[in-house]
Every structure is written in structure tokens, then in C-alpha cells.
């Protein structure tokens, strides 16, 4: 690597985001920092309950507060600080420049409104125009997400569609206003295995068409390998490792990431949830003070009672582990890994 060029202005930069439930206990999301450039795909990966959705919801200003509380953090999107915007300015951005697809396709659409209406109202909110124009745009979007018989679907209600079709409709809704950033929270988890790949392919194709940046949340390393430019691995509310996708897959440094990799079935297979690392995630009310992975970590040592910082190993590859880089701590690993 030669001279480091000044990095381009990021599309999204999150710094030290912490979220807590109520006023006592430990943070559910603790000091999360993320950074991505326009048009890139950032994958956030981690086991169920590690705070991926909370992070995404916080960025959209959708955290249920109370009971949850934003304790600290800054989120810059296109130069604006999302957390200090007025609700009016925030409403201007969300659904417009920044849109989100949710984890629950079956319940995320309003059962009392037609699909067409639900897409069109978002279009009118951000672009103005007549109802007819908005419905035209909705129809165009339904075509683009390859929903069969889009004219008919426009007047249908969510209960008349399958989960996969609903998620496509959600994608159509989210992309209707050409966002610069799309946050997709486990968009395929709730879907049939056969449909999952189709929906992922669709998201990737549309992203290529529109040039939107993508924050893709998943618990599936196969998806990460397929989609990501940048990766952030989360464990129990913290980022434990992050960096370019090649660095993470070729040279995983955090014991948790390594555990994930070795429990990954085979690249591309969508079935396995990542739960084969022995032990369980510490519950929110019993978070260890130091490294949150210590109870499950084969390399744990006395030092690990202090929380390790997310340290840069070079090339944007960051790891939060006292033993990183592992090759130095355990020279034998270099061969074994």
C-alpha cells in the first residue's frame, strides 16, 4: 500500500452509537461506529439479539422510545447529523434519501390499504404530484421489482400476497423515491429458502441500477460474502471486527468472527443460523464489564476483564481483541487458521 489518499466524504458515518433500555443496566448497543461510502454495501452481521435492528432503527429515528433510549452517538448522513434534525427535517429524509426494508414482511404493510396506495403515498410525500402520477410511479416500481401482474397488484391488499411478494412490494416502496441509502434489515430471513436468493438478487440488481448505498443486515455469512464491500461483525451490542470484505474473510482476527466462519455451512447455503459456537450470548442484564465475548472465548485471559478497543490493524481492518493480531499472540495459529 502506498500513500494513503484522503478518504472520500462518506455517505454514512456513525460514531459511538449507544442504546439502552430504561435507565439501568448495560447498553444494548454499545459504542457502535460505522462508515460507508456512496454506492457501497455495508453488511452488519451477527447472531440474533446482538443489536443489529436497534442500530438500523436508530438511524431511521424509529427506535421505540420509551422503553429504549439513545444514550450517545452521532450519525452523519450526507453531511447532516441525523440525531439532531427536527422531526420535520427527518421526515424529509426518511422515505426519501434514506429508506428501510424491515425484517417482518408479513406485518410491515398496512392491512387496510392497497399496495398501490401504500407506495403512492410515499411518492406523493416526497415528490408531490397528483395521485395518478404517484400511482403510475407505484406501478413502475412494482414492475421493477418483478412482481407478476403489477396492474392487478396495485389494487390488492397485503393479505392477498405471499411473503416474498410483500417483501418485493416493500422494496418497491423503499426505492420509489430513489434513495441514496437503503437499509435492509434481514430482508430475507422470514422468507422461504427458495425465495431468499431471488430477493437478494433483486436487491443487488436494483442497487446496481440506482447506485444506492446499501446497509444490509444479516446473520448469514454466505450473504455477506456475496453482497458486501464492507463488513461489520457485531457481538452483544458491540462491533468486534470490521473492514473490507476481503480482509474479514481472508484474515479473520476476532475469535468470534473465526467461530462464525468455522460454523458457516458452505458459502452460498442459506439455511444455517450461526449458533454453533459453544455457550450463549450474555443476557442484557448480565453483560460482563470487559470483553463481552469472554465467556465463550477459547483465548480469554485475565486482561480480557477490560473492554478491548476497536484497533486498526491497517487497511481499515479493525478488531476489538486483546490478542489481535492472533498470529503474533499465537504463532501456531498462522498455520492452523
Amino acid at each position: 500500500m502506498g500513500e494513503r489518499l484522503p478518504e472520500p466524504h462518506p455517505l454514512l458515518q456513525v460514531t459511538d452509537l449507544s442504546i439502552r433500555i430504561g435507565s439501568v443496566g448495560e447498553n444494548l448497543v454499545d459504542g457502535v461506529s460505522l462508515r460507508m461510502n456512496a454506492g457501497e454495501t455495508l453488511c452488519i452481521v451477527g447472531e440474533s439479539g446482538c443489536g443489529k435492528s436497534l442500530t438500523a432503527l436508530a438511524l431511521m429515528g424509529l427506535l421505540p422510545t420509551p422503553p429504549l433510549r439513545l444514550m450517545s452517538g452521532r450519525a452523519e448522513f450526507g453531511g447532516q447529523d441525523l440525531f439532531s434534525l427536527s422531526s420535520q427535517d427527518l421526515n424529509h429524509i426518511r422515505g426519501g434519501e434514506m429508506a428501510m426494508i424491515f425484517q417482518e414482511p408479513m406485518t410491515s404493510l398496512n392491512p387496510a390499504l392497497t399496495i398501490g396506495e401504500q407506495i403512492a403515498e410515499s411518492v406523493r410525500r416526497h415528490r408531490g404530484g397528483t395521485r395518478t402520477e404517484a400511482l403510475d410511479r407505484a406501478l413502475e416500481m412494482l414492475r421493477r421489482v418483478r412482481i407478476p401482474a403489477p396492474e392487478k397488484r396495485l389494487g390488492e391488499y397485503p393479505h392477498q400476497m405471499s411473503g416474498g411478494m410483500r417483501q418485493r412490494a416493500m422494496i418497491a416502496m423503499a426505492l420509489a423515491n430513489d434513495p441514496r441509502l437503503l437499509i435492509a434489515d434481514e430482508p430475507t430471513t422470514a422468507l422461504d429458502v427458495t425465495v431468499q436468493q431471488q430477493v437478494l438478487d433483486l436487491i443487488r440488481a436494483l442497487q446496481a441500477e440506482t447506485g444506492a448505498g446499501l446497509v444490509l443486515i444479516t446473520h448469514d455469512l454466505g450473504v455477506v460474502a456475496e453482497m458486501a464491500d464492507q463488513v461489520a461483525v457485531m457481538y452483544a451490542g458491540r462491533i468486534v471486527e470490521s473492514g473490507p470484505v476481503a480482509a474479514i474473510f481472508d484474515d479473520p482476527q476476532h475469535p468470534y468472527t473465526i467461530g462464525l466462519m468455522s460454523s458457516m455451512p458452505a458459502l452460498g447455503a442459506r439455511s444455517g443460523r450461526l449458533v454453533t459456537i459453544p455457550g450463549i450470548v450474555p443476557p442484557a442484564n448480565a453483560m460482563p464489564k470487559g470483553c463481552r465475548f469472554a465467556a465463550r472465548c477459547p483465548f480469554a485471559m485475565p486482561d480480557c476483564a477490560k473492554a478491548p478497543p476497536l484497533a486498526d490493524l491497517g487497511g481499515g481492518h479493525r478488531v476489538a481483541c486483546w490478542n489481535a493480531p492472533l498470529e503474533q499472540a499465537f504463532p501456531a495459529m498462522a498455520v492452523a487458521g
Binding site: 431511521m60 429515528g61 424509529l62 421505540p64 422531526s87 427527518l90 421526515n91 424529509h92 429524509i93 426518511r94 422515505g95 426519501g96 429508506a99 428501510m100 424491515f102 417482518e104 406485518t107 410491515s108 404493510l109 398496512n110 392491512p111 387496510a112 390499504l113 403515498e121 410515499s122 410525500r125 416526497h126 391488499y157 393479505h159 392477498q160 416493500m170 416502496m173
Partner: protein
């Protein structure tokens, strides 16, 4: 939708017939001889026999029933033993008064109860929510007659703003009619408003946490649209059912409220008829009430289907 309504009306017919048998039977087993009541002081046996014959009280019961229901189907519900007026005419005179009272009360209930429920759910845990809950709790616990009397004392006697009684038909003097009905309707509607507020609040609390409300916010819609278009619309589905169930309460309350404000409505007709053993009138009233109930239910079901697209395909 039309075929749905048609089907529901067809299904309702046997129900109405069953109710008519029940009403007729109940009436016959009540203690007291209507002929004695009718004859009053004049108890001479010939007179009694004549009256028995005239009102077919000597026929076997089933014949009396067929006679009655046959006439009823032709719109002849018999003659009031007391006033000698056709029952249908009596009902036709009194029913509109009560319907006006009930409709005005329902409007009060909806206009107060639903917005209060929406606001208190949206502002859950704030002083506004507390206030709304305290008011609705008082609305539920204050008896109608007490509220009625207090209002009469305050608004009519002390302030002289509204008349305490003196009903005017809507057709003759609409403004005066509305003025005289305002207090009774408020008294009758207040309890319903309280019930409606509580149901609206709990329905809204559930809906406001739903994923689709989160989606609506994610689209950048303003809170007004999120709450009214996305949340309330779905919360209305269970609320419509509650309103239907309130219909019975509304009728019972109307009878009482008419007594407090001396309104010459259905309530007075019912009370007079029962005390005087005026069989024909009681039968007519119960039959009409039953039909009104069934009609309300059909209406509510129709509304339910309009609000809830998931019901429409079934």
C-alpha cells in the same frame, strides 16, 4: 357486498320468527289478566266474556299466535288494550323520538369517545392520558339519573340555557327539538363515550406499536397521517364491534333518560304498556326492538367488512 347483505337479511328471518314465538309465549305466561285490567271497575261477567271474545283470548294459544303473526306480517300489530290505537301507529309515533335521542347520543359518544381514546393512547403516560382516563372513569361510574338531574339543576334551573323538558318533534320545530334533546342525549351519550374511549385507547395502543405504523413513519409521513390514516383506520375495526354491542346499553339507557327528562318516547311507551299489561303493545315493542337489533348487527358487519379488507374475500 350486496349479496352479503342479502344473505344476512335471509338468515335474519328465522331469527325474527323465533323471537316472535318467544315474545308471544312469554307474554302468555306472565301473571295477571289483561281483561281485568281493561275492564277496570266494571267487572260484570258479560263484559269480561265479551272482551275475551273480542280479543280472541279464548282461542287455543297456537291459533292466537298464528293470528297475531299473520296480522303482524301485514303490518297489523293489533290494538292497544288501553288507548284503542293501533300498535303500529303508537310505535310509529314514539319510535322517532327515541331514535332521535339515540342517534344524538351516539354522535356525542363517537365525537367525544373516539378522539379522546386516540389522544390518550398517543399521549400514553402523560397528564393528558391521566386526565382522559379520570374523566372516562367518572363517566362510567356516575349514574345517568344523577347526571341528568344535576344537569337540569345547573343548565336549566340555574343558568336557563336549555329547557329541562318539553319535547318538540324534529319535523315541527327542528331547532327547538335539537335544543330539548341536547341534554338528554349528552346524559345518555356520556357513559357510552367513556366506554368507547377505553376501547379506542386500547385498540390504538396495540395498533400504534404495529410494524406497519413503523413502516408509515419510515416513509417520512407526518404524525397526523401516521395516526389517523394508518393507525386509527385499523383500530376502528374492533371499535365498530364495540359500538354494536353498545346498542343494547343505548336502548336501555334511553328508556331511563326519557323518564328523567319526561320525553314522550319509546321508553314511556314500554313502561306504560308493561304496567298496564297492554299485551299487544309490549309484543309490538319487543318485536320492533329485536328487528332493530338485528338490523344494527347487519349494519355493523357491513361496516366491519368495509374497514377490514381481509374479510371481503370470504
Amino acid at each position: 357486498m350486496l349479496s352479503f347483505l342479502g344473505r344476512r337479511v335471509l338468515i335474519a328471518i328465522p331469527t325474527v320468527l323465533l323471537i316472535s314465538v318467544f315474545v308471544f309465549a312469554l307474554q302468555k305466561f306472565l301473571p295477571g289478566d289483561p281483561v281485568l285490567a281493561l275492564a277496570g271497575e266494571d267487572r260484570n261477567p258479560e263484559m269480561l266474556a265479551f272482551l275475551r271474545e273480542k280479543y280472541r283470548l279464548n282461542d287455543p294459544l297456537y291459533l292466537q299466535y298464528f293470528h297475531w303473526i299473520g296480522n303482524a306480517l301485514r303490518g297489523d300489530l293489533g290494538i292497544s288494550l288501553r288507548t284503542q290505537q293501533p300498535v303500529l301507529e303508537l310505535i310509529g309515533q314514539k319510535l322517532p323520538v327515541t331514535v332521535q335521542l339515540a342517534v344524538m347520543a351516539l354522535i356525542f359518544a363517537v365525537v367525544i369517545g373516539i378522539p379522546a381514546g386516540v389522544i390518550s393512547a398517543y399521549k400514553k403516560g402523560t397528564w393528558i392520558d391521566w386526565l382522559a382516563n379520570i374523566i372516562s372513569l367518572s363517566g362510567l361510574s356516575v349514574p345517568n339519573f344523577w347526571l341528568g338531574i344535576m344537569l337540569i339543576l345547573l343548565v336549566s334551573v340555574k343558568l336557563g340555557w336549555l329547557p329541562a323538558s318539553g319535547y318538540q318533534p324534529l319535523t315541527e320545530d327542528p331547532l327547538q327539538s335539537l335544543r330539548t334533546m341536547l341534554m338528554p342525549a349528552f346524559v345518555l351519550g356520556s357513559g357510552l363515550a367513556a366506554t368507547l374511549m377505553r376501547h379506542t385507547r386500547s385498540a390504538m395502543l396495540g395498533v400504534l406499536q404495529s410494524d406497519y405504523v413503523r413502516t408509515a413513519r419510515a416513509k417520512g409521513l407526518n404524525e397526523r397521517t401516521v395516526v389517523l390514516k394508518h393507525a386509527l383506520r385499523n383500530a376502528l375495526v374492533p371499535i365498530v364491534t364495540v359500538v354494536t354491542l353498545l346498542f343494547g346499553e343505548l336502548l336501555a339507557g334511553a328508556v331511563l333518560t326519557e323518564q328523567i327528562f319526561t320525553i314522550p318516547g319509546f321508553g314511556k311507551l314500554v313502561v306504560d304498556a308493561v304496567f298496564n299489561r297492554d299485551y299487544a303493545v309490549v309484543q309490538g315493542i319487543v318485536l320492533c326492538t329485536a328487528i332493530a337489533f338485528i338490523a344494527m348487527n347487519i349494519l355493523a358487519d357491513a361496516l366491519y367488512r368495509i374497514l377490514n379488507p381481509r374479510m371481503r374475500d370470504q
